[in-house]
Symmetry: C2
Subunit: 280 residues, 2 copies
């Protein structure tokens, strides 16, 4: 059961004229709520603000954090471990794609129950697959978490019948970009790399944290173009996402990896920085 709130009221209804529904004209953040508090709040807010800037949206009200607090207070879910989803759209308007910029944003907040990923996944890794769905390249909203997610829907729907935990997607120019709900990291000869997201894909908050923490340890992550070939030759592969932290990957289709020291190190760093799921 999901509970949905608009600012100042619970809602079960979106106006059909809302441009989020009509055009996917908006953004969202999916936030881990732990011990009643939004984890990585600053990263989520910064990405949301960057997205609003790009789309010409203005966040309403004095404080998104206050709105989230109200939604959580009203929620019946277990606030020690649940998920909040904040959606910002460009609101309702007359028909037509164009709008005057900046446009006042409309905020919706959903609260969901959540189940932690099981411990064996962190110990033994998860199985992934390479999706046939390709991502378009050169998106004007690359890196942002917009409401235009048909590519991820198609890719993720490929995974469901196979039982794969996650699907990796390439862009149409054969570059590895990300998973449907995660970012991908590849380790080769102790060097950690993750795909550039300048042309498509979503810049995850956990990816950002991993890049920062490894950098602080003197192990800069290389953000670069990666190809399927880099999966084939990888020593280790892991994925990140705001809910799960970092999770080792033991296979993607026919490519198989063991779970190595770099991945364990990343998990230790995350565990020491508030990502409890990665604790041994």
């Amino acid at each position: 059961m999901t509970e949905w709130y608009e600012v100042n009221r619970q809602t079960r209804a979106v106006d059909p004229s809302d441009r989020g529904f009509q055009y996917g004209d908006g953004l969202f953040e999916t936030i881990a709520i732990r011990d009643g508090k939004p984890r990585q709040w600053q990263y989520h807010v910064e990405r949301l603000n960057a997205g609003c800037e790009r789309l010409g949206l203005e966040l309403p009200g004095p404080s998104l954090e206050l709105d989230l607090g109200v939604a959580l207070a009203r929620s019946n879910h277990d606030k020690s471990f649940c998920i909040a989803k904040i959606i910002v759209t460009s609101g309702s308007s007359v028909r037509g794609y164009g709008r005057m910029l900046p446009t006042p944003g409309e905020v919706y907040i959903g609260v969901f129950s959540a189940t932690p990923l099981n411990k064996p996944a962190y110990l033994n890794g998860v199985a992934t697959m390479l999706c046939e769905t390709r991502l378009a390249t050169g998106s004007p909203v690359a890196g942002m978490k917009t409401l235009n997610r048909i590519e991820q829907v198609l890719a993720s729907s490929e995974c469901l019948p196979t039982g794969a935990f996650e699907g990796f997607t390439l862009d149409v120019e054969d570059r590895l970009i990300c998973g449907t709900i995660s970012n991908v990291f590849i380790v080769k000869d102790k060097i950690v790399r993750t795909p550039s997201l300048d042309r498509c894909g979503v810049e995850g908050t956990m990816r950002r944290l991993v890049v920062r923490l490894l950098g602080q340890e003197g192990h800069n992550v290389e953000i670069c173009d990666l190809m399927e070939e880099d999966l084939a030759t990888a020593d280790e592969v892991f994925i990140t996402n705001s809910q799960m932290g970092a999770v080792p990957v033991h296979r993607c289709g026919n490519y198989k990896w063991s779970i190595g020291e770099q991945t364990r190190e990343v998990m230790r760093l995350l565990a020491n920085n508030g990502i409890d799921e990665c604790r041994e």
Copy 2:
């Protein structure tokens, strides 16, 4: 004022968990209603069916045409000249991109009042601009009218403050693709060309009719890659859309054209095939 209907009931409410709202996971058709009837109905249905096939959606109920009829009967708008918008989404679901295919579709029908484009636009042409917003290339849903329309929102929002009637968009590889609400045709040395929409863009129903009618006259339209340079060297340019038919374009930014014989011929053909707006 827009009236929105779900199948069998009027609605002012979309479930916030509807995947159309969450992910833009759906399709739409914007249909010209003339004399109480949906114009180009077969083309709209065929495009919608192709989109549903690609997205793994199943249209519910015995007949979309029946649903539209009910919505129109209930509407207070002038049914001699108005617009119907049919939205099909993958419905509400638990959180997560993936869904089992095929997925039962959820249908929403909106009815809007409409004002015909003024006569001088058809006589003297309209002014367009070249948008800075570029379209991503290699979309898995190229040609389809999905609910993922952020690119068109950004491009059209560029046009609003300028007063341009329409904005032309290039893809990231500098190919001319389409207008935000129209398809583009370029005439050079009596040959009519329109951009290929294999990588991005929307295949309009009026574009399809123009291609068919010109073909019947022995003037096959070349569907090919076109660049900004082709605008610079064009003899004539016109745009098409389901509501307006074909409309001459007299400029795009600094490129200017006169309204020539090929454009007039297309308008005559359309007028003779039920597109009354193009009648002289």
